[in-house]
Amino acid sequence: MRPRSVSSGYVSVLAVVLLGACTTSSSGGPAAALPPGSTAGEDSGASDAGVSEAATYAWQLPPGFPAPRVPEDNPMTAAKVELGRRLFYDTRLSENGTYSCATCHLQALAFTEGKGRAVGSTGQVHPRGSMSLANVAYAATLTWGHPFLDSLERQAQLPMFGDTPVELGLRSQAELEQRLREIPEYAPWFAEAFPGEAPSLLAIERAIASFERSLISGRAPFDRWLVAGEDGAISESAKRGYALFNTETFECYHCHGGFAFTDHVVYADEAFPQTLFHNTGLYNVDGQGSFPAPNTGVESVTGNPADMGRFKAPTLRNIEVTAPYMHDGSIATLSEVLDHYAAGGRTIAAGEGAGVGSANPLKSNFVRGFRMTEAERVDLLAFLTSLTDVEFLTSPEHSDPWQ
């Protein structure tokens, strides 16, 4: 398979999505926000993103990536990103001084943790795993299954102050602010990022959100092939896998399409972000579609029975390094994830979580199951691993500044 023409890039993915009968988006897909005149092989800046304040921050966007949405009250600056990076990696942001954000979001693992269920600073086990922060600037909502948590700034408060379970274990905004004000080395960094302001939770969350928005991943071998037209960047097997990925047989692209390889995206100048959630038949513990509590997905927020088991489609970028998989880490390998979807939902014969997921009445129409040859499995896995962005996983810009 030859690379698609460079100018079509992710647009070709979009076209397939729009041709699918079941897309619910009325706002166009990711490529709709490609900056006018954006050309392959060049980094597209955010100068035309309609966020004039962001001009002080030099986005290094991969070709074909739209300008991220940035809150008007927290424009990106290099100083905020740098302060946020220091805060992200600082264990003084936990009550007992043992954990930072980075403890559960490791750069080498695309800012996941490598555990199916995260463990907090006091040893409590989280029901879910740490999500990748790659391209989190484009996440329409945050965490695995929250319908309206759409602010990275607000989200930062959850691991800080949440106690069910304890993550960073902070108890009081005032105590945190006082603690940081007493660290002399922070004074100039805060002063540069937030002139005239004392260190505050608002500044902390804005800085951390700015750092998180800088975590852009889009320079994997796959991108060099698809967008930059570098024919040898990925294997022929990976190219065949990408073709399978985009077929109606395998249905992968419906939920994992677009530049971010998820349907759950937002970007600048987009009025109606897509906040789609899907029940993939991972569980069916009562024969009526239930997922094991407390991991009931969107239902846990809305209380709407129809939202049972509905979770966000995570990005497939760097998926090779983010095992184990699914919201609860209940699938160890990518190959087994393919088995889950091939079966149209997972069957757990006995024990905890037992049930026939393929018979989940709330399951997404896209999870219908498929027959997959071993050669096709190899090809799909080759495609998925071509999304590993080594530059992102090793870039000093995203690394621990305290080392």
Partner: protein
């Protein structure tokens, strides 16, 4: 002595050295009615997530009929006292349930809002709350009984046992207040609000709101079996919407209006009974209520809330009138 004082239940269990005993007696409790106010589903508030320019509304609403011009005002303190049955609540204290399970209180904090006093005719006169950082702001006050010691190690050191404010001179016979945080503020960014609404243990990140009530007990290791615990977090639940697109709406507001008759602010205290809240449960297992799920049923009834709808019930058993020298001081 008020009816409440006379009817408070008596301890009927063996005294265990170093252990305070408490008993459960639902039948002899004297529930005060919970009115029907504030039980509507939330409507979208103007305070979005970090939305610039959305100035929080912190003024207390005026509900009483217009008064005569410039009535004389007097300061008033509404004192709250935490108890476990008959015993004062203290983080380091140990209590014994009827099944012989020893336990301690691990947390007890509550937001109250829209406090008013009732005159002899039952007319409500709003208490204008003092601005008293970090406990009071606008119409909202945080009552905090835990001091971070003992079983409350996850808490904070400072406590607040009263609501202070001013009220027109008058002869007051009753107290009304609502649990919770005003819906206009419930989904705003705590980082942009004054205390007691700042981020901390009472913010409920996953629903972008607040815990209106946080109550927890933990059993201690003993002969009765593995130590369990009970945890009740009340806040508006079943939420949908979007802070940046018109606001968040919670179908179950989980706010109720508590009315305590025979309450004299100068003579009485509001008793908050952790024992009555968790009475009769098996503390060798875990009880967890985050304002949804079947385990909430019993506790919500005692708080005075209908679990299914989030509306107020006619009775509640968490608050009652007591003497100032009762409970934690």
């Amino acid at each position: 002595m008020t009816e409440s004082h006379a009817s408070r239940f008596s301890s009927s269990f063996l005294v265990v050295p170093a252990l305070a005993c408490w008993a459960i007696c639902f039948a002899c409790s004297s529930p005060h009615t919970a009115g029907p106010r504030s039980d509507e589903p939330e409507t979208p508030g103007s305070a979005g997530s970090g939305a610039a320019g959305s100035e929080p509304i912190l003024e207390a609403p005026v509900r009483a009929p217009p008064l005569d011009a410039a009535p004389a005002q007097r300061p008033v303190r509404i004192r709250f006292r935490a108890v476990v049955g008959d015993e004062p609540f203290a983080c380091g204290a140990t209590y014994l349930d009827p099944g012989g399970v020893a336990f301690s209180g691990a947390d007890l904090r509550a937001f109250v809002q829209d406090v008013g006093l009732l005159d002899a005719d039952g007319v409500e006169h709003p208490v204008a709350l003092d601005v008293r950082a970090p406990w009071q702001q606008g119409s909202v006050a945080l009552i905090d009984f835990e001091d971070g010691s003992g079983a409350c190690a996850a808490g904070t050191r400072d406590v607040n046992l009263e609501v202070s404010g001013t009220v027109p001179e008058g002869d007051y016979r009753g107290l009304v207040f609502s649990n919770g945080v005003p819906e206009q503020l419930n989904h705003a960014d705590p980082a942009q609000l004054p205390p007691p609404l700042q981020a901390g243990s009472m913010t409920w990140g996953w629903l972008l709101g607040y815990r209106f009530l946080m109550a927890e007990v933990v059993a201690l290791p003993g002969d009765a079996g593995a130590p369990g615990s009970a945890l009740l977090h009340v806040g508006s639940s079943a939420c949908a919407g979007n802070p940046s697109q018109g606001g968040v709406v919670c179908a179950r507001a989980n706010r109720n209006r508590v009315r305590l008759d025979d309450f004299d602010p100068d003579e009485d205290a509001v008793l908050v009974d952790l024992g009555r809240l968790f009475a009769g449960i098996d503390l060798t297992r875990l009880w967890t209520c985050h304002s949804s799920g079947a385990e909430c049923e019993l506790f919500f009834g005692r708080v005075g809330l209908d679990l299914a709808t989030g509306s107020a019930l006619e009775r509640q058993d968490l608050y009652r009138v007591g003497a100032l020298d009762e409970g934690q001081r």
